[in-house]
């Protein structure tokens, strides 16, 4: 049983560019959540998708947007990248209480 997968593993972008990160949930999971983890911090909730709709959102600007597909996979898009967007981006999938995380995508903005 494959766990949560994310792509790409690493990414380097320059300020002002746009980026798309991808996530495939654990088999049977219908809910996908995205988190940002800055260095030395715990993961911070960005948003959550269920039945192809965003149903919860954390304190992140509209530059952060997402999508969920009918097969429950998800994308995170970030527009107009800032240096401060450099972080580990984690995807988590769940069916009921427990969220299971993928390995993350390390984004560096120069």
């Amino acid at each position: 049983d494959a766990g949560v997968t994310q792509s790409p593993t690493h990414l380097i972008k320059t300020r002002g560019q746009q980026v798309t990160l991808r996530c495939s949930p654990k088999s049977g999971h219908d809910t996908v959540s995205w988190y940002q983890q800055a260095l030395g911090q715990g993961p911070q909730f960005i948003f959550q998708y269920y039945e192809e709709e965003e149903r919860q959102r954390g304190n992140f600007p509209d530059r952060f947007s997402g999508h969920q597909f009918p097969n429950y996979s998800s994308e995170l898009n970030v527009n107009a990248l800032l240096l401060g967007d450099s972080a580990l981006y984690l995807c988590a999938s769940s069916l009921v209480e427990t969220q299971y995380f993928g390995p993350g995508t390390r984004l560096l903005v120069l």
Binding site: Q41, G42, P43, V96, T98
Partner: protein, 117 residues
């Protein structure tokens, strides 16, 4: 305002001894708590969880204790092994009414555990 606090950034213990990692929270609406372990260059791995209707949950070498009146939980690892060396995150979620899935998780900043051989 940090709703989940892990006040010890690091902890060092000897192999075979007990490791105790602590976590405090401020939000009375939190009803489910989880511990995750994270190795460098990997995502957090789920370890153990506890519902607010319990005060203890055990899984092998890992036990989580919840003191609701003190808004405090702890993770005990007995015996500690060198492979347990990692960053441990405490996370909490509030009561919600969503069908399926889960409420968002609120994380502490983590405690780096080092188990010395």
């Amino acid at each position: 305002d940090q709703q989940v606090k892990q006040n010890s950034p690091s902890l060092s213990v000897q192999e075979g001894r007990i490791s105790i990692l602590n976590c405090d929270y401020t939000n009375s609406m939190f009803d489910y708590f989880l511990w995750y372990k994270k190795y460098p260059a990997e995502g957090p791995t789920f370890l153990i969880s506890i519902s607010s209707i319990k005060d203890k949950n055990e899984d092998g070498r890992f036990t989580v204790f919840l003191n609701k009146s003190a808004k405090h939980l702890s993770l005990h690892i007995v015996p500690s092994q060198p492979g347990d060396s990692a960053v441990y995150f405490c996370a909490a979620k509030a009561m919600g009414s969503y069908v399926g899935g889960s409420e968002k998780l609120v994380f502490g900043k983590g405690t780096k555990l080092t188990v010395n051989p």
